[in-house]
Structure formats: C-alpha cells, structure tokens
C-alpha cells in the first residue's frame, strides 16, 4: 500500500486492525464481523514499535505471547531467531538500534503465527541491511501462505516480495497494479537515473 503522506494508508490499516472505527461502512475480516472476533488471526505492527523500552527482547515477547495464550518460551526464541536477533541478549529494548527494534516489532507481530499481518511502515528509519533482512522474512512468510499487508514509502524494498501494489490518495484507493509492472517501472527509473 503506497501513497503520499496523509493519503490515509495508516488509517486504513488501523481500521482493518480494529484500532479505529470507520467513519462509514464496515470491515469484514477472515469470516469475522470485526477484528476483535478474529484477533488471534491478525498480527499488527504499528508505526511505533509497540514494545516496552524497560524490558529486554525476550521479556517483551514473553509478555505479548501470553496475551495470545502462548506459554512456551521456545516460540519466543524461535521468533527472535527468525528475525536474526539473539534471544540471550539481555539488553533492554530502549538500548536497541532502530533496526533491531523494528525487527523485534516484526517478531512480536508474528509471534502467534497469524493468518493476516498488518505492517505499518516496517522499514522506516531502518538501515539497508535490516530492511533487506526484514523484506526477506516477509517473503518467507508469504511463501508459507500468510497474507501480508504492508504500508510503506519504500516500495522498492518489497518489489520482489509483493504480489500487488495499491496506491492511495486523499483517503481513496486510486489504482492497483501487479508487482511485475511496478518492478519494471522501478527498473526503468533506476536506468534513467543512471
């Protein structure tokens, strides 16, 4: 989901996640009448990291796993491993780099193996290495049959992972294109710039 600032991308994501109410209409999601009914099937990663700065990575994941009824520590360790973080790291999240925070935030969103992942600017303020790593993780999740809904300004990072690009402007969807067309356009832009 791409578009200029203020286009309504994050608002749409929050409405789908059940965090905001639509001013008109309704949202039906995964067979449920609202997000609350299917909360266990949805993973949400906000623009902010949604993590406690005073706790370390594993403590954060343990707490959020508990909200989904997951008591097994191995699930949290596996989630840390999947996004390339060390589960034995005792450093508090407040001392993490932005890239590490975003990765941990992605791990938190996917902790309960949701069917649908809603990610708001997952690559914002993240270094190129972390961003590529996260895009790779998203690709693997997609290959496992997960639906991933990404709001981003960095479309180039997901061009090899995304199936479809949706453009928004002034609160409306203005166009939808397949990832192949976008890739070709990005390549043409890069060629022109070079």
């Amino acid at each position: 989901m791409v578009g200029d600032n203020g286009a309504g991308k994050s608002t749409l994501l929050r409405v789908v996640a059940g965090l905001s109410q639509p001013s008109r209409g309704s949202v039906r999601l995964l067979g449920g009448r609202n997000a609350r009914q299917v909360a266990h099937l949805i993973g949400y990663m906000g623009h902010a990291p949604l993590l406690y700065d005073e706790l370390d990575g594993m403590e954060n994941l343990r707490y959020f796993a508990g909200l989904y009824g997951i008591a097994d520590d191995a699930v949290c360790r596996e989630a840390m491993h999947r996004i390339g973080l060390d589960s034995t790291l005792e450093r508090r999240v407040g001392q993490y780099s932005q890239g590490m925070r975003q990765r941990l935030s992605l791990a938190r969103a996917g902790l309960h193996d949701p069917q649908l992942m809603l990610l708001d600017e997952p690559f914002s303020n993240v270094d190129t290495h972390s961003a590529s790593y996260m895009a790779g993780v998203l690709g693997r999740l997609r290959d496992r049959g997960k639906t991933i809904f990404v709001v981003t300004h960095q479309a180039g990072l997901v061009e090899h992972v995304a199936d479809e690009f949706v453009h928004m402007a002034e609160g409306r969807i203005v166009s939808r294109e397949s990832a192949k067309r976008v890739s070709a356009s990005v390549a043409a832009d890069a060629g022109g710039a070079g």
Partner: protein, 223 residues
Amino acid sequence: MSIKVMRATLLKDLRMEWRSKDAINSMLFFSLLVVVIFSFAFNPTAEQSRLIAGGLIWVAFLFAAVVALNQTWARELSNQVLDAYRVSPAPANALFLAKVLGNFLFVIVLEGLMAPLFVVFYQLRSVGPVWQLILIALFGTWALVVNGTFFAALSIRTRNREIMLPLILFPISIPALLAMVDSTTAILTGESVPDFWIKLLAVYDVVFTSVCLLLFESVLNAE
C-alpha cells in the same frame, strides 16, 4: 486466560517498576514531605494529633497515590504499546485488574513504610482495635486505586492528563475519603465506633469496582 493475562501484566508492571522505581520513589518522597512539613508547621500535641491525623494521613496517601496512578498508563502510551494489547484477544478487564492490583500494591507498600513515621512524628497510638485500621487501609486504598486507575485510563488521551486525573478523581472519592478519615479518627480517639464507615467503604468498593469493570473496555477502545 484472563487470570494468566492479569498475572503476566501485573508481573510485567512490577518488574518495570522495580527497575525504574519511578512511582515508588516519587510517592515516598511526597509522603515524607507531608509528614515532616505538617509536623513542623503545626507542632501538635498528642491529643491534637489524634484528632487531625486521620485527615492528614489519608490526604497524604491520596495525593501520593495520584503520582503512581499517573505513571500507570504512561508506560503503555510510550511506544503506543497499548495498541498491541488492543489488537490481541486478551480481555480488557484483565489489563484493568492487573493495573489496579499493581497500584494497590504500590500504595499499600507506601502506607506500610509511612505508617511508622506518622506514629513517631504525631505521637499516635490506637485507642480502638488495630485490625480495624488495617481493614480501613485495605478498603480505602482499593477505593482510591480502582477509581484512580479507571480515571487515569479515561484521561490518557487528554493533553493535560496529570491535571485531569485529580480533577476527576478527587470529587468522586469524597465519600470514600470521608469514610476513611472518620473511621481512622474514630479508632485513634476511641470516641465513636467506625463500623458504619467501614461498611460504607466496602459497599463503595463493590459498586465502583463493578462499574469500572463494566465500562473499562469502552474506555480502552475509545479514540
């Protein structure tokens, strides 16, 4: 699942408070100031102390509790962590009760630490039964924190939430505060029986806990 979520949230809050000591340090410092300043300002005799101590103690704890109550949701607002809770299937009331229990523990610990200082500075001794004082402390503290936690949640999206909380909390706490002050004074002076006030506190606790539990989900999901 509710009990597990409540326990996990409570332990998480206690761990975070243990590391930062933000709330407990502020509450202790504030209460200590009240004890010392009022003691020197009035320099009361033992007889006068017994008459005013009930009011002094509870007003000090009420103001100190506001410090902890304001901190309660501040941690959830930082990094918008509350959104992570809202999108999860965890029940809203588990979060509320965990927060209330956490605040209850902080204020009870504060009361336990400050009570000996009040006794020393104001030359207090109990004429009535001490177990009733303990009962008043438990019921009274619950009354303060259950409403305080609820109204702190209600005011988290306002710009001046530190000011909003006492503005909403104090008027609604007046019946409980009156019961706490009068029953404590009754026990310290031995001039009356505090049974009515203790029963009133118990009823107040049941009513306000029920109302807060009923309304909290709406408050949590309000925009």
